[in-house]
């Protein structure tokens, strides 16, 4: 589904990603862990198409297409979804109103008829129940005055509405207490199936108590320095990121 090859990218002349290689297949859950500043969020931003990042080398193939050649909106329309680390607050725009526009623009792109008000409401209700979010939150201005947990749930709700093929979740667990992490994780588990894939970006292992990944990748200095099964996360938790730094350091010297 996603094949990242030797990706180099940066922002304002500063290099952050130094040759990322990663392959994600349909049905898989991948997690990228790493210390602060290792480039995790940059990778998520580059994949979603954030404008101010410059790709200097490498390629990203998504569903057989050149992802880097696509506009942010076309990436979304092709089924890529980024759950933001810091969801934006937009006074004056309700989630409902915004989702209606989003769903219908994506349908138009795919050559489908727009949903009428009734069909849209039915879809809203179904997804609200699925991710356990309250109607009142969705009628309010987007994320304005929402708690950290409410913002992240709103992200998951949007993900449920848009039914992405590849969901990239950028530090969705950051700033959440244990209860909120459980609720968000439950929803992600419900939305994940054999036809889609999830890429979790996180700093902490604790999210993995609730979402079981197929692969764990450790990122350091803009590169994936170690990949392994879910047990790798436990090892990281036990030994801390210093062990990776040490291992990478040794490797480079050899």
């Amino acid at each position: 589904m996603l094949r990242i090859h030797n990706l180099h990218a940066g922002i304002e002349g500063k290099k952050i990603l130094n040759g990322i290689n990663l392959e994600i297949k349909t049905g898989e859950v991948h997690v990228i862990m790493g210390p602060n500043g290792s480039g995790k969020s940059t990778l998520a931003s580059v994949l979603a198409g954030r404008e101010n990042y410059e790709v200097s080398a490498g390629s990203v193939e998504y569903l057989g297409k050149d992802l880097l050649d696509m506009s942010p909106e076309d990436r979304a329309r092709e089924g890529l979804f980024l759950a933001f680390q810091y969801p934006v607050e937009i006074p004056g725009l309700s989630t409902t109103n915004f989702m209606k526009t989003a769903v219908n623009e994506i349908r138009k792109y795919r050559g489908q008829e727009p949903l009428d008000a009734v069909a849209f409401l039915r879809m809203m209700k179904e997804k609200m129940a699925l991710v356990n979010i309250d109607q009142s939150l969705l009628s309010r201005p987007l994320n304005e005055g929402f708690s950290g947990g409410e913002k992240k749930r709103n992200e998951i709700f949007q993900m449920a509405m848009l039914q992405p093929k590849l969901a990239i979740m950028d530090e969705t667990d950051s700033g959440l207490d244990i209860d909120a992490i459980r609720i968000v994780s439950d929803s992600v588990n419900k939305l994940h199936n054999k036809d889609n894939a999830v890429l979790l970006v996180t700093h902490y292992q604790r999210l993995l108590d609730y979402i079981i990944p197929d692969f764990v990748h450790v990122m350091y200095n803009g590169r994936i320095v170690k990949s392994g099964p879910k047990e790798l996360a436990l090892e990281l938790e036990e030994k801390g990121y210093d062990f990776i730094k040490h291992e990478v350091g040794v490797g480079e010297e050899a």
Binding site: P72, E73, V88, I90, L93, M99, A102, E105, L162
Partner: protein
Amino acid sequence: MNTIEYFKEHFDQLQLAGANSSLGAIRKNAFDVFSTLGIPTTRHEEWKYTRISGLFNKEYNFTVNPLTTSFTTNDMDGLHLPGHEQANELVFINGLFSFSLSIIRSPQLVVLPLEEASGNEYKNIVSKHLGHSGQYLKDGINALNTAFAYGAVFIHVKKGQSTEHPVYIYHISDARNSNSFSQPRSLVYVDENARLQLVETFVTVGEQESFTNQVIEIIVEKDAYLEYYKIQNDESHSSQVSTTHIRQVGKSYTHSVVISLNGNIIRNNLNVIFDAAHCESHLYGLYCLKNEMHVDNHTVVDNVQPHCLSNELYKGIVGDNATGVFNGKIFVRKDAQKTNAYQSNKNILLSENASVNAKPQLEIFADDVKCSHGCTVGSLDEEAQFYLMSRGLSKHSARALLLQAFAIDILENIKSEPIRLYVEQLISKRLEIDTV
């Protein structure tokens, strides 16, 4: 036109015709003021950013005789605002009030020529309040309107009455055959415990240029309620100086929304005078500008008496080569303790050539008051735009939704449903076209 001489000629004709009118003296005084001050230039502090002198360099047909207009009921087709079937419709043609084109549905409403009101039982009200705006607008253009307060209208909403039908005022410029200059004048008296919903709009018919210098003065008595909407969506060859002077003479409530969407040069003066304690006023404005448009909103809230509340929010979306001006004054006089006065002006610039000049001005002479003002000028939030695009919205839709969201807290303050829907439609249409 050679301004002062040109108007002097017309003025003399008019005064000859109505020399014995009780308005004659008021007009004469005003003309003297105009002769002294002339048309304001950008050297005048209140006109620093708005140049109207150029508008006077053209030839206009300045109608002083109502018989010369050939505007008929049929010509009104297509000009009505939504909800007009239920409204009292008052029509000015080239600045002169037309009884034949107006429709009055509410028995609570008295509509008279100002000349007549100035001589009958309303005499004292007219003499006390007509021209009060001149105390605040010390320039020749306000005086010019008063000097030609002819074909003007007086409106009375009777004591304890509520007009279930709103009042729509149409300022129509008939520019089919020649450039049109017009000076509509109204005096509105909202009596004790009465309610009025008033909508003013400007329409130019024809391809020639129009310039309207309009003044409405509204007196709001004790326990009265006024909702006021001004909708400016005229042609790009029409300019306006439009003055709304609201004087709250008893404990009362007023609410105004000024929407400017199309025109050439527009100058709006909105004054709210709290001449009684415990008054409240809410002032909203939205200007959505494109091309070469120039819109200037000057507002004054004068707290003469204590315990009053004013809340003001003006927002601007300025694109292309357009210019927005906001000047908001709040006066708190010595006796106006416990005043609460809030003001905010927010602007989004859509292009590099768009500009906004914003100036809040607070003059506070009392010591126990709460006042605030704030002003922002910025561009559309890029992060918000990316957020929406990352959900599949095109750049165009993302920008349109963000601008709509920006405007919404003004639009939701239009309490008249047909007018609100109408303005919302105009804005949606505008955003579709302009953000492509």
